[in-house]
């Protein structure tokens, strides 16, 4: 089986991470921001998996499982917050919650 070079996987992970970050910074809708966060999680997970494959260690996959759990917890908390947010502000615009400035 022709293995994918690690560099390619890492570049893909970096691109994904950058896309996620850019989306997080650009989008104002909290749902999209949560989705961007998921992309970033998965970019990090991809980097772990690639690294694990490169050195033939199970740690990379273990870490991916860990990330999946954390992401699940994050989504649970995030969606709960989102519901509360919408209930309070009647919008999903993150910038609406700016009452705690300087």
């Amino acid at each position: 089986m022709a293995s994918v070079p690690m560099e390619h996987a890492l570049v893909l992970a970096a691109v994904l991470f950058a896309l996620g970050l850019a989306g997080l910074l650009v989008r104002r809708n909290i749902i999209f921001m949560l989705m961007c966060l998921e992309i970033m999680f998965n970019a990090a997970g991809l980097a772990f998996v690639a690294a694990g494959a490169r050195w033939a260690q199970a740690d990379g996959q273990v870490m991916f499982m860990m990330i999946l759990t954390v992401a699940a917890a994050e989504v649970a908390v995030g969606l709960a917050l989102l519901l509360g947010f919408y209930h309070h502000f009647k919008t999903l615009d993150a910038d609406a919650a700016e009452g705690m400035r300087g």
Partner: protein, 631 residues
């Protein structure tokens, strides 16, 4: 008898304590009895002691009474002790005698004042302090009295403190004399360090043994003492406070700013004359200061409108004569003039006070006139005082004392023709301004209606002082008329004899007297013509541009106030304003401002936008990574 000496300052002091502590609770009528009574008894004791001093003088012509040890620090003992010799006896008699008459006068003058008891309390404290000054055996006691009279002067100038101008005048007097006092304090330190004692007689003895004539220490000490004397006595260049001191009640002007306190400088120089003898250059400076002051103040008196300011300038001028006498070594002559001046100047002030009250507190001479018929007692006593001030021959005490000073200035070894001429010109000017004042106040048409006439309580002291002003001069009659040097002879035990005139000047004395008398009479007639008979002459002189300028200059007392304002007060105020927020604080304030600025900058980043936080977080992480990777 001499053991009663302590009563002389103690009685006024007790009067002060009673009036100050219980003045509000005592009936109003009791205040003048306590105030004047304490000084009266003090005067009585002084006169008894003086009688004793004449009939049976104490051993060595002086008497000293140690009351208790004031302070005893390692190597330095200061006794609370009184010293009586001819000089302090004469001063005591003047202070208590004239002081008593002025207290009696005040009993009526101040009767409507709400702080009647407080006034007498201050006056008593003043008399006590002045007696301490003249009776103190050591310099510390003298300085205590010196500062005490300064304090009382401040309190009494600002007695009517509800008018802010009076408060300012009091402050001016206090601050100006403070300059002199500082000089004097430094002088005392110098004397103590150099001579190791502050007992005046001991000090004089050691000075004459240890210091050479004209040595630097002696000159420095004499100049510092002169600084103190100049401040207290209102001489150039510290004379500016005295005309403003007239803001106080008139009895205060009579007692403090004419008869007694302002002559303290003369007393101080006479007391420490040994040091001045050791410093001829400083003594010459005393004479020059006196001569310059008597001329400048005499001219300034010519242009004043306020009757009390005329008298104030004439006081400065007459004390200038005393300084002139001290400067030429004629100490007894200076003290003699001090005594006669106390008589006639107290008289003039009190008579002017009677005029001021009669005209309902009008002090402007241009609004007076024609009071001769309305206030006969005041007119005649004022005239007698004026004759004495202008030193009309034979019938006035001022003639004898001023003549002695002029003669000493001419004939003594330290005198010179220039000094004599200054005194002579001063006598001429005195004649003009004195009779200008008399004519403007008492002659011509009536301009202000007489409000109240003075009662006998005010008139009695006037009459007594008028008698003293007329006959007081007979204590000393010049040899050109009839040789009778009682006063100078009496003073010889305390002060060195007046310098012996040069040979071949016997006729000069009479001639100089005649010249001086002619000058005074000329001044008098000029005043009569220019202000009485033909007032248009004076008006014409003032109407010319030069005359108007001169009048303004003289009215402002030669512009000394203006000058000091420009070179001292304004720069000081400017510096104060410039440094209003303390210079050094810039550092601490700067640190505070910096942290406050950084704080507000940082709080700007707290926008509340969660995306902005995320962005900064990632930029920070990126930077951290970049640092780790690149470095």
């Amino acid at each position: 008898m001499y053991e009663l000496l302590w009563l002389v300052p103690a009685l006024p002091c007790a009067g002060f304590l009673i009036l100050a502590l219980f003045g509000d609770r005592l009936p109003r009528r009791a205040a003048p009895f306590i105030g004047a009574g304490s000084v009266g008894f003090s005067a009585l004791v002084s006169f008894l002691i003086a009688y004793r001093f004449f009939t049976a003088p104490p051993e060595g012509e002086h008497f000293s009474q140690v009351l208790w040890t004031w302070m005893n620090v390692e190597g330095f003992t200061c006794q609370f002790s009184l010293y009586l010799d001819a000089l302090s006896l004469v001063m005591c008699l003047v202070v208590t005698g004239v002081g008593f008459l002025i207290h009696v006068y005040s009993a009526e003058y101040m009767i409507d004042d709400e702080s009647y008891a407080k006034f007498f309390a201050y006056m008593n404290l003043f008399v006590a302090a002045m007696l301490m000054l003249v009776l103190g055996e050591n310099m510390v006691l003298l300085y205590l009295g010196w500062e005490g009279v300064g304090l009382c002067s401040f309190l009494l100038i600002g007695f009517w403190y509800k008018n802010p101008a009076n408060g300012r005048a009091a402050m001016k007097a206090f601050l100006t004399t403070r300059i002199g006092d500082t000089f004097m304090a430094i002088g005392l330190f110098l004397l103590f360090v150099q001579l190791g004692t502050l007992d005046i007689q001991e000090m004089m003895q050691r000075a004459s043994q240890q210091w050479a004539v004209g040595s630097g220490v002696a000159v420095a000490a004499a100049l510092l003492i002169l600084g103190g004397a100049v401040g207290k006595s209102g001489q150039l260049p510290l004379q500016v406070w005295l005309p403003d001191a007239m803001a106080g009640p008139t009895p205060v002007s009579a007692l403090i700013h004419a008869a007694t306190m302002v002559t303290a400088g003369v007393y101080l120089i006479a007391r420490t004359h040994v040091i001045f003898e050791l410093a001829p250059s400083a003594q010459f400076l005393v004479a020059v200061v006196g001569a310059a002051t008597l001329l400048l103040a005499g001219f300034a008196a010519l242009a004043q409108r306020d009757i009390k300011r005329v008298l104030a300038y004439s006081t400065i001028s007459q004390i200038g004569y005393m300084f002139l006498a001290m400067g030429v070594g004629a100490y007894a002559a200076g003290i003699f003039h001090l005594v006669t001046h106390a008589f006639f100047k107290a008289l003039l002030f009190m008579a002017s006070g009677a005029v001021i009250v009669a005209l309902h507190h009008e002090q402007d001479m241009f609004k007076m006139g024609g009071l001769r018929k309305k206030l006969p007692v005041v007119f005649w006593t004022f005239l007698i005082g004026s004759m004495s001030l202008a030193s009309l021959p034979i019938i006035s005490s001022g003639f004898y004392s001023k003549d002695l000073i002029l003669w000493s200035a001419f004939a003594s070894e330290k005198g010179s023709k220039a000094l004599w001429f200054a005194g002579f010109a001063g006598a001429f000017v005195t004649g003009i301004y004195t009779f200008r004042m008399v004519i403007m106040t008492f002659f011509g048409e009536e301009k202000t209606h007489v409000h109240v006439k003075p009662g006998w309580v005010m008139c009695l002291p006037l009459v007594i002082l008028a008698i003293c002003s007329t006959f007081g001069g007979l204590m000393e009659i010049p040899s050109s008329i009839y040789h009778f040097p009682l006063f100078t002879h009496f003073m010889e035990s305390a002060l060195p004899a007046a310098p012996i005139p040069h040979e071949g000047l016997e006729h000069a004395e009479l001639m100089l007297q005649v010249i001086a008398v002619i000058a005074v009479l000329c001044g008098l007639s000029i005043a009569v013509v220019a202000f009485g008979v033909k007032p248009q002459i004076a008006r014409a002189v003032v109407a010319t541009p030069f005359g108007a300028k001169m009048r303004d200059l003289l009215f402002a007392g030669w512009g000394f106030d203006w000058l000091y304002d420009k070179i001292l007060i304004q720069p000081f105020l400017r510096t104060a304003r410039f440094n209003k927020d303390d210079f050094v604080d810039l550092i601490w304030n700067g640190i505070a401002a910096l942290s406050r600025g950084v704080h507000s900058l940082l709080s700007e980043t707290e926008t509340g936008h969660v995306r902005w936080y995320a962005a900064t977080l990632s930029v920070g992480a990126l930077l951290a990574l970049a640092i780790v990777v690149l470095l």
